[in-house]
């Protein structure tokens, strides 16, 4: 951690450079969107760019590139559980991808409902 003012001055330039890089990547991501890629590819590209941007914010602005062990360890643990939360529920319903979720016995989406007698 920089506590020495001269050190901090050097990092100030870095902050502005990273800021500019972030704005550039924002432009890239909007431009990439204008090229109509197939959905899976579009998602991949967008997420890669976002991850690059996010990593810059985390590493430089949030000083994560020289933090302490306890912080790294807590964050690693969190990331693992974050990935589990994002993808495991999906795997349990993966057989319903792309189909509209309806109540069993309900009419198909878009048709008028029939009354169900219970």
């Amino acid at each position: 951690m920089q506590s020495d003012p001269a050190e901090v001055k050097k990092t100030v330039r870095k902050y502005f450079m990273i800021g500019a890089a972030l704005l550039l990547f924002t432009a890239i991501t909007v431009a990439a969107n204008l090229i109509h890629l197939a959905v899976p590819l579009a998602i991949t590209v967008a997420l890669i760019i976002a991850t690059i941007k996010g990593s810059m914010v985390a590493a430089v602005f949030m000083h994560l590139n020289h933090e302490k062990k306890w912080i790294y360890a807590s964050l690693m643990l969190t990331i693992v559980f974050f990935i589990v939360l994002l993808f495991v529920p999906l795997l349990t319903i993966s057989d319903t991808f792309g189909t509209h979720i309806s109540a069993p016995g309900a009419p198909a989406h878009g048709e008028s409902g029939q009354e169900r007698k219970d």
Binding site: K9, T11, V12, A46, V57, F61, K69, I79, I93, F97
Partner: protein, 194 residues
Amino acid sequence: MNIPYTVETRPDTGLANGKLGIWLFLASEVMLFGALFSTYIILRTGAAEWPHGELSVLLGAINTVILISSSVTMVMAWASLKMNEWSKHRLYLILTFVLAGVFLVNKYFEYSEHLALGEGPWASTFLAIYFTLTGLHGLHIVGGMVVMAYFIGPGAKMAKTSPEQFTNRIEYTGLYWHFVDLVWIFLFPVLYLL
């Protein structure tokens, strides 16, 4: 009574209490937004078709630029303190606060436009997750603004009485703020572009 390591760092961990505290808080926030991203994924894969072009890419991109700029000004607010430049610190902190305000004003215009057309969260799962994700994010912006207002206003006294502790608190505020920016960096492409 004095709680140790409030300002100075503990030798074996290298941390002050507040630094560990704010990172743990951010870890919990990762899980909070994670749940909402998981919701997005499940709702989208569960839909036969997913809307495109309903949101204004221009407004979203402008807001992204605003938030990134505010991250730069926020880290500069802390760096200025480290370099003992008080007036620069005030300038950057106030600028961050103002940029945050502009972000919220833009969101207000966005929301009003949709609601005027009857496009509320009740209208589709896309709009539901859009309003919820950006709404919760917006609440976090408000929270950040409250904290900044405190440090611009009454909290600034501590810079005289306990300068190191004040600098630490600005750093922690910055960490929170960068996290809010980070979430938006993912929200923008996910909601507006994909």
